[in-house]
Symmetry: C2
Subunit: 189 residues, 2 copies
């Protein structure tokens, strides 16, 4: 085969490392595709829900990710019923799709107080007492956000599988599973 | 209130029209955020799944959308068990999130043959006989795609609700429901 522009796409171990490079860039680089993944969950009626989140932590060794949320948000209610989540990233520049399957643990209170301390004052309004996100209001700005440490929750994603689809000159698709120690398996795209 | 840079964000009817303008741009403009939404479904084990799709049709009057897929794909299997879908768009430039709830009908065969005729030859390989997308293969390129009209399916999304979140200078969130004839309701962001 001719030399490829994307050597990382052609070998499973290289691809796996590349996926983690992408995820990790989401933490440090505000413009990286992995900065704003879509988190899909299932609500108590069995309906899928999806929303943008901000990726906050990524640990390749443990194969875990983390994002933050207001404990009153609908995703918390959904995850309490069904802790499975799908995290989705489409990197248009690389023509690379990442699909992460994870079990989610909700962390709150003392176990996340160190993280709370590191959140800048102006950013703390995203975690608020008072009316919950999604409550009906008469006018668009009929709400106030009052920072509250006990409204701050961390969604801790224990990754079970990562699937990659690369739409390069050739299309390639692979899945990596925790159960197989991340060995990787090519799939028909 | 001072004059806003985003008058469409401040009145429910303007916001609703703006959301449809965004969706419709996804059909005609390859670079529009709505060109590549994330489609979330629930598989037969009750797990959420999410993947990028290409938006193909948008009809504000009927409040329907459409995307195309290979009938052998995992989203078809999931939608046959649970026809509910969430379509998600994050428009980074506008700082605008669209969340669409829809009931999906799978169209195939004669009812989509006119659409099939309009698909250019080179694009038809996305709908193929032979090994299904997601089947394990020994090497990354151990597959061939042979266009097959009977593998071509249209996912017809009958929208039940559209939720918007605008992260402008002020944050605004609203939901529009078919059941309320799309009148709209402000929500706490």
């Amino acid at each position: 085969m001719a030399t490829s522009k994307h050597p990382w796409a052609e070998e499973l171990p290289l691809l796996y490392d590349h996926l983690w490079k992408c995820l990790t860039r989401g933490i440090s680089d505000r413009d990286a595709a992995a900065r704003h993944p879509t988190l899909a969950t299932v609500n108590k009626s069995g309906m899928p829900q999806a929303r943008t989140v901000v990726l906050r932590e990524a640990d390749q060794q443990a194969a875990t990710l983390a994002t933050y949320t207001d404990i009153h948000s609908d995703k918390i209610a959904s995850l309490r019923v069904n802790p499975a989540a799908a995290l989705h990233i489409w990197d248009a520049e690389q023509k690379l799709q990442l699909r992460v399957e994870a079990n989610v643990t909700i962390l709150n209170g003392d176990e996340v107080s160190e993280r709370w301390q590191r959140i800048p004052e102006h950013a703390r309004t995203a975690y608020s007492r008072g009316p919950a996100p999604g409550e009906p209001i008469a006018n668009s700005l009929d709400y106030t956000k009052t920072p509250a440490e006990n409204a701050f929750a961390v969604l801790w994603l224990d990754i079970q599988a990562i699937e990659a689809l690369h739409l390069g000159q050739h299309h390639r698709r692979a899945i990596f599973k925790r159960a197989n120690n991340w060995a990787g398996q090519w799939l028909v795209p």
